[in-house]
C-alpha cells in the first residue's frame, strides 16, 4: 500500500505525529491520530483542530476581468458569481443536464480572478468539465504547488491572530492574502465542521513551516478524516458521493439556499446553467423527496445505506440514510438521508432496518449541533 498513492506535503508530519494513514481519493491520508476520533472531534469543537486538506483541488479561473470570468462560470453553476463582492467566497456546485450535482465547491472573488476549491475525488473531472465548457479566453489553472490546511474551532482565530492580528476583522466567508510564518497564504474564513475557522492555502515550500507554526500552539491538535466526517455530519454538511451526487438535485438535497435570487426565475441572470429547467421547476413545484436530518431513537448508529420505512411492518421503502454514525458532541447517533416528501416534517418517526430489525429514527432539524460561524 502507498506505492501508487499521492502524498501531501504534510505526509512526513502525519507519520511523526503518529497518524494512522488510509487511502482516500488517491491520496495516503491521516484517518486519525493517537488522540482518536472521539477526542479529535471534541477538541475541534472546544479548541482548534488542524486538518490536512491538501488532497482537495485548488483551481484558478482567469479571464479578461472578474466580470467576464464570473459570467462564464455562471454557465456551469447555479450561483450568483457576478454579484459576489471582491474578497468574498460562496458555496456552490456544478450541475449536470439532469439537474444532478457533479461536485460541490467553494469559489471566491479574488479581484481579477476566481479561486475555487473542489473535492479531491472529482478534481480531474471538474477541471476537464471547466476546460470543455468555458470559452478559451478563460484560463483554467490547477494549482499544484500549494498545500491546503483547515484550522477549525473556537480557538482558531486566536491561534492565527498570534501570526497576523488583523485576522480578527475577517468575517465568515471573507477571503484574503495574509502572511503566516513568513509565507504568503490565501486564507478564507470558512471550513466544513460547523465551527468558526479558516482554510489556508500555502506555498508548498513553506507548507511544513506554516503547519508547524500552527500545530505547535498548545490549543491545536492534528485532526484526521474520521473526525472530519463526524464533525461535518453533525453540522449537517453534505459529503459528495454520499449525500449528493449526479442522481440528486439541489432541491432534493435541500441546498436551495445556495442558489441566489439572480439565478432563479425572474432573476437578473435566471437559468442558463446545466439542468436549469429541471432545477427551476423543482424550485417552484418542490421535489418528490428531500434530504433531512435524522436522529436514531436508540443507541444503535444507523449508517449509510440503511433503508427507511414508515412503520415497523411496512414493506415499502420510503427513504435511505446517506450518512450516519455517532455524533460525539450530540452524544447520540446522528444521520441524514433522503425521505419521501410526505414524511419530511420534523418529528416524524420512521423506522430504519439495522441487521434485520426495525428501529425508530426521527426526522430532525439540521444541523444536529448549532453552527458557530463568525457572521
Amino acid at each position: 500500500m502507498g506505492e501508487d498513492l499521492n502524498k501531501t506535503p504534510f505526509y512526513d508530519m502525519h507519520l511523526i505525529n503518529g497518524a494512522k494513514m488510509v487511502p482516500f481519493a488517491g491520496y495516503d491520508m491521516p484517518v486519525q491520530y493517537p488522540l482518536g476520533v472521539m477526542k479529535e472531534h471534541q477538541h475541534t469543537r472546544t479548541k482548534a483542530g488542524l486538518f490536512d486538506v491538501s488532497h482537495m483541488g485548488q483551481v484558478i479561473l482567469r479571464g479578461a476581468d472578474y466580470a467576464s470570468t464570473a459570467r462564464a462560470l455562471e454557465r456551469l453553476i447555479p450561483m450568483d458569481v457576478q454579484g459576489l463582492a471582491e474578497g468574498r467566497q460562496r458555496y456552490g456546485f456544478f450541475t449536470n443536464d439532469a439537474g444532478g450535482i457533479l461536485d460541490d465547491l467553494m469559489f471566491a472573488n479574488r479581484g481579477d480572478h476566481i479561486f475555487m476549491v473542489v473535492n479531491a475525488a472529482c478534481k480531474t473531472a471538474d477541471i476537464a468539465h471547466l476546460r470543455a465548457h468555458l470559452e478559451p479566453e478563460i484560463h483554467v489553472k490547477e494549482i499544484t504547488n500549494r498545500a491546503l490546511l483547515a484550522l477549525q474551532g473556537p480557538m482558531a482565530q486566536a491561534v492565527l491572530a498570534e501570526h497576523y492580528p488583523p485576522i480578527v476583522d475577517m468575517k465568515f466567508m471573507d477571503v484574503d492574502t495574509i502572511p503566516i510564518a513568513g509565507a504568503e497564504c490565501w486564507v478564507s474564513r470558512s471550513g466544513y465542521t460547523g465551527e468558526d475557522g479558516f482554510e489556508i492555502s500555502i506555498p508548498q515550500a513553506a507548507a511544513e513551516t506554516v503547519a508547524a507554526a500552527l500545530a505547535d500552539h498548545a490549543d491545536v491538535e492534528w485532526i484526521g478524516l474520521g473526525a472530519r466526517d463526524s464533525l461535518r455530519l453533525e453540522a449537517g454538511l453534505c459529503l459528495y458521493g454520499h449525500d449528493i451526487d449526479t442522481g440528486t438535485t439541489p432541491v432534493e438535497a435541500a441546498l436551495t439556499w445556495a442558489i441566489q435570487k439572480s439565478r432563479r426565475a425572474g432573476g437578473s441572470a435566471a437559468g442558463g446553467f446545466p439542468g436549469d429547467t429541471i432545477i427551476l421547476d423543482q424550485l417552484a413545484q418542490g421535489a418528490s423527496r428531500k434530504r433531512v436530518g435524522l436522529t436514531p431513537q436508540t443507541r444503535a448508529p444507523m449508517r449509510e445505506g440503511v433503508a427507511l420505512y414508515a412503520s415497523e411492518d411496512s414493506s415499502t421503502e420510503i427513504g435511505t440514510i446517506t450518512s450516519g454514525g455517532f455524533g460525539p458532541t450530540v452524544g447520540t447517533p446522528v444521520a441524514m438521508g433522503y425521505v419521501d416528501i410526505e414524511m419530511t416534517a420534523t418529528g416524524t418517526v420512521l423506522f430504519g432496518e439495522v441487521r434485520g430489525k426495525r428501529l425508530p429514527i426521527q426526522v430532525s432539524p439540521l444541523p444536529h449541533t448549532p453552527s458557530n460561524f463568525k457572521r
Binding site: V31, Q32, G36, V37, M38, K39, H41, G226, S230, R299, A300, P301, R303, G325, F326, P328, P333, R355
Partner: protein, 119 residues
C-alpha cells in the same frame, strides 16, 4: 486465560467461560459507542455472530468462541459502551457462556502465544 485469533479473551469461572475482547482489539476499534449483546438463555454455536460492536468508525461482529448457552450478559455495556475502551480485560466483559463441549477451549492460545500474534 485463553485467547482467540479474533482477539477475544476467555476466562473460566465456576464452570462457565467469561468472554471479552483484548486491550489490543479495543485500541484497534477506537472509541466504542454501541454494543448489542445476545439474550440470556440463547443457545449459540461456535462462530455465530452474537455481539455487535460499533465504534465511531464502523460496526464489527464478535463471534461466539464456543458452542453453548449464554448464561449472563454484561448489561452495563448497553449504557456505557465506552467501558470497553477503559477496561476491556476486566469490568467490560461481554457475556458468560456455559460450554457444551469444554474441550473446545483447548484449541485457543495462551497469553504468550497471543502476545506473539499481535507482535
Amino acid at each position: 486465560m485463553k485467547f482467540t485469533e479474533e482477539h477475544e479473551w476467555l476466562r473460566e469461572e465456576d464452570g462457565v467461560i467469561v468472554v471479552g475482547i483484548t486491550e489490543h482489539a479495543s485500541t484497534q476499534l477506537g472509541d466504542i459507542v454501541f454494543i448489542e449483546l445476545p439474550e440470556e438463555g440463547t443457545t449459540v454455536s461456535k462462530d455465530d455472530e452474537i455481539v455487535v460492536i460499533e465504534s465511531v468508525k464502523a460496526a464489527s461482529d464478535i463471534l461466539s468462541p464456543l458452542d453453548g448457552e449464554i448464561v449472563e450478559v454484561n448489561e452495563m455495556l448497553a449504557d456505557e459502551p465506552s467501558k470497553v475502551n477503559d477496561d476491556p480485560m476486566g469490568d467490560a466483559w461481554f457475556f458468560k457462556i456455559k460450554p457444551s463441549d469444554p474441550s473446545q477451549m483447548d484449541e485457543y492460545m495462551t497469553e504468550d502465544a497471543y502476545n506473539k500474534l499481535i507482535g
